[in-house]
């Protein structure tokens, strides 16, 4: 019998696979989804979430967000918090594109200012922000400089002239996660990352120029406080730690595979879930190396912001400060972070693995910028290239139920392969242009992979997290220009 048949309804948007379903489960699985999204999930997602629930030290639940789909070991859209003292750390629960994430940037321009010049803007962005598999950035770093970048993240960039001091306030961890240690990084990882700061990369990474249509503002009060107004143009982009994060993950997966059983007697079902005790030497080394990936990615998005400001400044012949190019927030998708959460009334240190999931801290959570203390943390949800994207806010309920976590995007419904069989990239780009979205890409087949129909409906995904109370909707954006790798 399929697993789906064993899933119990908790409420309209929360589903559970009880601990009794399989002997080796340490905690139940909780799936956040509408009935429709649940039915559309691949059986493999449930199997993976169950396997995750067997990891040593896992607390409360193994979670799947409404955009969940199968990935390496963990589902993408999978969340697991482990006890910092007794639990494990698993690269498969973080993902290889470490701290792949989203950044949202405001402008004080309107659709009327930008629409007539969209081609000029997108063409220039495409020229200035390298995209594609092996793309290299304009930043030429020495090895020792690169080590500084991965230890200091966006802070390094701002100190070196790529951004404004205030940008750092609006990045998770203020753009620099503490404890990143470049001595835990292999030369191979450095070699792969050294010339990739300031590049988008390929796959589902993109940068969009988006429009705030008046009817798409859901929470006017919150929007106003954040600095969003009707017909405004904003910039949103999605990218990560490129080959660097990939190599860090590869290096430590190999180490973990060697010590997991032999040294720590951890038995797992699927070796894609390779892990090590968080408190062990290997676990701590990976944590410090993974943090370098987090910082590399913050730096990457910071340098891209610098380029975005240059482009807008050039096109509008105005200083970027006067164009209001301010960061709303920068969120990470693929991380594990040491956080304090309350479990059964007890405050404890936990390692929260979020893979294809966004931190969504509620109002008054520690570490939030003053601006968002009352509102809750901004959560940026990227849709597929064709559909819209959202700005949400974190909630107290997310803090209580999901370790302050929500969805990250719309999640695939079909494989890249299948999408490409169904549509030609060139046709899609022409079609999008007809609908008012100007696209520049290095790879047409890459566009086809990312076609809107290959993804879950973003509105359904966001509705599910909103109805479940994990986030609050503020505004939906629609793209008018896009560059992708």
């Amino acid at each position: 019998m399929s697993i789906l048949a064993h899933i119990k309804k908790v409420n309209d948007y929360v589903w559970e696979i009880p601990k009794e379903f399989r002997k080796d489960m340490r905690v139940p699985v909780r799936i956040y989804a509408s009935q429709k999204l649940l039915n559309e999930m691949d059986e493999m997602v449930f199997t993976q979430a169950i396997n995750v629930s067997t990891l040593p030290g896992i607390l409360r639940y193994s979670y799947v967000m409404p955009d969940g789909h199968s990935g390496y070991g963990f589902p993408i859209g999978g969340v697991a918090a482990t006890d910092a003292e007794t639990g494990v750390i698993s690269p498969g629960g973080i993902g290889f594109d470490i701290n792949c994430g989203m950044r949202l940037v405001l402008t004080n321009l309107t659709i009327n200012d930008v629409r007539p010049r969209i081609k000029e803007i997108v063409d220039l962005l495409f020229q200035r922000i390298p995209a594609g598999v092996g793309s290299t950035g304009f930043l030429k770093l020495t090895t020792s400089q690169f080590k500084e970048v991965v230890e200091q993240g966006a802070k390094w960039c701002v100190e070196n002239g790529y951004g404004w001091e205030e940008d750092l306030e609006y990045i998770e961890e203020k753009g620099c996660i503490e404890g990143a240690d470049s001595s835990k990084i292999s030369p191979k990882a450095i070699q792969r990352g050294i010339d990739q700061v300031g590049t988008l990369g390929s796959g589902n990474h993109y940068l969009e120029v988006q429009w705030v249509k008046p009817e798409n503002i859901v929470d006017h009060e919150a929007a106003k406080k954040i600095g969003i107004f009707e017909d405004q143009i904003v910039i949103m982009y999605h990218c990560g730690s490129r080959g660097f994060g990939h190599q860090v993950a590869t290096d430590y997966l190999q180490i973990f595979l060697n010590v997991m059983e032999r040294k720590y007697s951890i038995k797992i079902l699927d070796r894609e879930l390779a892990c090590a005790p968080f408190s062990s030497k290997e676990g701590q080394d990976y944590f410090a190396a993974m943090k370098c990936g987090i910082n590399m990615s913050f730096a990457n998005r910071q340098v891209i912001l610098h380029r975005v400001r240059e482009v807008f400044s050039k096109v509008f012949k105005t200083e970027p400060e006067k164009l209001g190019l301010k960061v709303v927030f920068d969120v990470a998708h693929n991380t594990a972070k040491l956080e304090e959460h309350v479990i059964d009334g007890k405050r404890m240190k936990v390692l929260v693995h979020r893979k294809g999931a966004t931190r969504a801290f509620g109002p008054n959570a520690p570490g939030l910028p003053q601006k968002y203390m009352e509102l809750g943390q901004p959560v940026i949800i990227g849709g597929s290239m064709e559909t819209g994207s959202y700005l949400l806010l974190g909630t107290q309920k997310a803090m209580e139920e999901t370790f302050g976590t929500t969805c990250h995007g719309s999640g695939r419904t079909m494989s890249r392969t299948k999408a490409k069989k169904l549509v030609r990239g060139e046709d899609l780009v022409k079609d999008m242009e007809k609908r008012g979205i100007y696209v520049r890409t290095v790879s047409y087949s890459g566009v086809a992979e990312e076609a809107g129909f290959a993804y879950k409906n973003i509105d359904e995904v966001v509705d599910a997290v909103a109805m479940a109370g994990l986030s609050k909707k503020v505004v939906r954006f629609i793209p008018i220009g896009n560059i992708k790798g």
Partner: protein
């Protein structure tokens, strides 16, 4: 002329690099190998920096390339600079190869020949479940090397084979140790029919492999041809050659249940079959070929 590409996939530590080393040393072809970063295949050599790719020359005319640019640019740069007979792409062990495979199909200068996935038997035997990424790697394969058979017992090997087979029914499976199982590596390079492969003499081969060659005039009925190919005995691993249909002349490549064509001007039909003890099919094949000829 399109350059054929072989994709080599497999889990971390399955033996992809070992396999590549063996290929390079046993196949007399000009190869260009694309990897994410120079692996252990290429050390102590001078790096030639290009626009989309860095290269290292290996012995025997092969080059080893690491991507620094978009795949399509890199491939075109390699073709322009070194004119390889074959391009091999080694994928990373932690990624699903399906995306790469279909990207290749959209690059006009190349044609996908086959996908080889190396499976680490010991790794599969030790863990009860095959993960998602590895599943996709196995699913995508035309050839599967069950490697490290020396690390498992017979019963485990059988179990691993069954598991792999349940994920991919069509691929040809070889059992190897250190990626070596009396393999004839030429089998993987089947895209072009060339003098060397036509002359294949079973005695020069590892004993398991035999080849059969037929050539004939006339036009072939496409529908009948496809039926014929899809009904080939399982022991025939590959079929390749030239075929003339009513609508044009093609080179065809059949590997592990997957048939592909590319336009190619040659004024004769030539079919080459390679497989395990297949001499016995000679008469059957001869008769079948008569049937697929188009009646004018």
């Amino acid at each position: 002329m399109k350059i054929p590409v072989i994709v080599i996939s497999g889990f971390l530590g399955a033996g992809k690099t070992t396999f590549l080393r063996r290929l390079i040393s046993s196949v007399k072809k000009k190869l260009a190998i694309i990897m994410n970063e120079f692996g252990e295949v290429a050390i102590d050599a001078e790096v030639i920096k290009g626009k989309a790719v860095n290269m290292i020359e290996l012995t025997g005319g092969c080059v080893c390339c690491s991507l620094t640019g978009e795949l399509e640019y890199a491939i075109n740069e390699i073709i322009e600079k070194v004119k390889p007979e074959y391009i091999l792409i080694e994928t990373t062990g932690i990624a699903e190869p399906d995306s790469l495979i279909y990207n290749l199909e959209n690059i006009p200068s190349v044609v996908l020949d086959n996908v080889i996935t190396i499976v680490d038997c010991d790794g599969i035997a030790r863990f009860p479940e095959i993960g998602y990424t590895q599943r996709v790697q196995i699913e995508s394969a035309d050839f599967i090397l069950l490697n490290k058979i020396d690390l498992v017992n017979e019963e485990q090997l059988k179990e691993v084979e069954n598991k792999v087979r349940s994920i991919n029914e069509r691929a040809l499976i070889f059992k190897t140790k250190f990626c070596n199982g009396n393999l004839d590596y030429n089998l993987f390079f089947g895209y072009f029919i060339d003098k060397e492969s036509v002359k294949l003499n079973p005695s020069e081969h590892t004993e398991e492999f035999e080849s059969l060659y037929f050539d004939f005039e006339g036009k072939v009925n496409r529908e009948e041809f496809e039926k014929f190919i899809s009904n080939l005995p399982r022991d025939i691993y590959r079929a390749k050659g030239n075929v003339i249909f009513k609508d044009g002349k093609y080179i065809f490549n059949y590997v592990a249940g997957r048939l592909s064509y590319d336009e190619f001007d040659y004024n004769k039909n030539r079919f080459l079959f390679v497989g395990k003890n297949i001499k016995k099919f000679e008469n059957n094949l001869k008769n079948s070929i008569k049937k697929i000829l188009q009646n004018e």
